[in-house]
């Protein structure tokens, strides 16, 4: 009764969007607008059509995405929009569909929200609940407490997985100083975490410029010391490192080797905390990896780069 989306309501349609948050919000907006209940929402690469299913390509529209964002923030609270934002960064299959059902459920649950009787609600510029509503609104939305719910639960778990991956990146990014004085780091996360990572490193670095490049999603976060931007790119030219860089890396490796106690040797525990998939971007682990693994990876990534040459450089596609 309270759950809106059932299989029998769904019409045989699948939405394909461009993989960005704006695209996803546009797709959900379109579903509301057209009164459809799509069975699948995904990027064209991952979407596999069911028998007799119609495919609809969604044009990313910033206006409709913004309108949906405003609606969700006003009706359910900003923390619920944050939840959607974080969950949408996940690479997990069916993440987009889980978010779609969650948005439907969340908006339906909060039908009687404080803006309901407001006369100016249709052309209200506010993205957040206004002062009158704010006093009533709770700090944490009650939707966030529904860990065991069949619609909310998966989205909460998606968010948790993304934030865990973000924490891993905070731990295991290794910066190198390039000759121009810019700090550079490469990473291979299993979720598109750079948008939620940049603020942390901006704060940590103070006022220095740095670049974080995501090999998996081909996204780079570029910080010029004050503000940051996201760049989608496949071509990556790393300038040579400073002369001091080799020395510091040697010092770090020396420290890493020195602090280990042989009598307590426990590599399983290390692997549990520091999974092997990260090792190729952690400088002190390079010599512990078989050479073949490193080489195999570099050639494979080159090949994949050539195949998926994207339409050039797109600046500032999403700014969270």
């Amino acid at each position: 009764m309270s759950i809106l989306v059932h299989e029998e309501y769904s019409q045989d349609v699948a939405y394909a969007y461009d993989g960005t948050l704006e695209g996803l919000l546009s797709a959900i907006f379109y579903a509301y607008q057209s009164g459809e209940h799509p069975q699948d929402i995904d990027t064209p690469q991952h979407l596999q059509l069911r028998l007799g299913q119609r495919l609809h390509h969604i044009e990313t529209s910033t206006t409709s995405a913004l309108r949906l964002q405003r609606g969700i923030s006003r009706i359910c609270g900003e923390d619920i929009f944050d939840l959607i934002k974080h969950a949408s960064l996940s690479d997990a299959p069916n993440a987009s569909y889980a978010i779609y059902t969650f948005v439907r459920y969340a908006l339906n649950q909060n039908k009687t929200h404080p803006c309901k009787l407001c006369k100016t609600r249709h052309n209200c510029p506010q993205t957040t609940p206004c002062a009158r509503a704010k006093t009533k609104a709770r700090k944490v939305s009650s939707l966030r407490l529904e860990h065991a719910h069949e619609i909310t639960g998966p989205v909460l778990r998606l968010e948790r997985a993304v934030l865990n991956e973000r924490h891993r990146m905070k731990q295991f990014l290794r910066f190198e100083q390039t000759a121009q004085g810019i700090w550079f780091a490469k990473c291979n996360p299993n979720a598109n975490v750079i948008p939620v990572l940049m603020d942390y490193f901006c704060a940590r670095f103070g006022c220095e410029s740095f670049v974080i490049f995501d090999e998996v999603h081909h996204i780079a976060g570029v910080c010029d010391g004050r503000d940051w931007q996201l760049v989608q790119t496949d071509s990556l030219n790393i300038p040579i490192n400073t002369s001091n860089e080799q020395f510091i890396q040697a010092a770090w490796k020396c420290f890493y080797d020195a602090v280990s106690i042989d009598a307590r040797y426990h590599p399983e525990l290390r692997r549990q905390f520091m999974p092997k998939r990260f090792w190729r971007n952690i400088c002190e682990m390079h010599e512990r990896m078989p050479d073949t693994a490193l080489k195999a990876h570099t050639s494979a990534s080159d090949a994949s780069n050539r195949q998926t040459l994207s339409p050039g450089l797109r600046l500032d596609q999403t700014r969270e």
């Binding site: 295991f172 100083q177 040697a250």
Partner: protein, 476 residues
Amino acid sequence: MDILEKLEILSDAAKYDVACTSSGITRNAQEGKIGLASASGCCHSFTPDGRCITLLKVLMTNECVYDCAYCVNRCSNEVPRTTFTPQELADLTIAFYRRNYIEGLFLSSGVAKNPDHTTELMIQTLSILRNEYAFNGYIHAKAIPGASPELLDELGHLADRMSVNMELPSQESLKLLAPQKNKQRILAPMRQIQENIATDHETRALTRKRNTYYPNATPTKKMRSFAPAGQSTQMIIGATPESDFHILNLSAALYKHFSLKRVFFSAYLPINQDARLPQNDAIQLNREHRLYQADWLLRFYQFDVSELIDQDKPFLDTEVDPKANWALNHLDFFPIEVNSAPLQDLLRVPGIGPKGAKLIVQARKKSCLKEAELRKLGIAYKRARYFITCNGTYAGKGIAFTPEALRAQLAAPIDGGKHGRRADKCLAGQLSIFDCIDQPQTPDALPSPPMSLGGAQADGLFGWQQAILHPEKVRA
């Protein structure tokens, strides 16, 4: 000497310090400063032994005037000796911090010349970091027992966390293995740190808000707060015959009276050849693990130390963890209903931790929790099912509700694998030292202290506790 060689020697010498946490304080980034700190801490790497590297853990110097039997840096050991200059160490810290290798600095030291001289070197390093480099990250500094209170105060205002090594769990052992150290000398800086933190906290609370009619007394010069992340300590276990009962009571007293953030245990590793030390070459890693489990119960599960262990069985069970052990001995408390039990009862269930208990309390407001829901919340249902009912149904059917039957289900031996020297780990109580003492558990079995300086005795089972509570009565 090359800085690489220095780093290798001094980090190698510091590796036996167990505490390596960057937790306890959140400090946001500030304009013009480098770095920040977060209360949960952040581990940046893990060594082959599975321990985390979060701070650059080094000694200021490995020269030492003391001759403690268990220590790798004792003056009678022939190891290469070196000292960092404050500038070198500060440069290295900043270079590592910028590359995201570390979260800050952990600075300990051997005692070169005297405690005051060593502390001054440490203060110099920290003030270069804080004042010249405007370093805003985490710094953990070891207080050297015997240093003057003024220097300790200065060090504390530069560091985030302070710690004093307790070294060994009893005065008797200290006298045997570290004859130059004594209890009051160790407890005095701990007490000073605790008092300074409390004073600082109070002063800040008073000056923060306009809470009098007088003009606000905000100090014109902003001073760093004193060790805002609190203090910790560590002790070696297994080098001397103290029981787990003794150790846990001591750590509970430290948490209670000195408001420590952490007590670290370090299983004794045979480094030196010494007749006073156990020579059986086995490490009590399992015992250390159980002690940490009990420590967690004290800090996060609202257990009291008397619930975990008693004097009749002074060692923790090696087969089951302390929480399961408590549950098996209190089966009349179980099963409890997950959908209605209060938080502190949920915390007593084996398989439900603080996070899981909090999630249960949140989630049950909206839905009725059964097996599937509990599994989704991340509860160790396999263990928890014998102690809970879900909406009235008990899921542990098939197993008799008796301590023996449940013990067989819950027994979880610590499986460390077969690497390195883990194959010859030993169990608690398997010691081959103190030939005069066969059963080290009971207090009256310990040899009476040879001299008394009047007042209460500092030795015996609760010797440290007495020294903590009555500093004026108990002398070392």
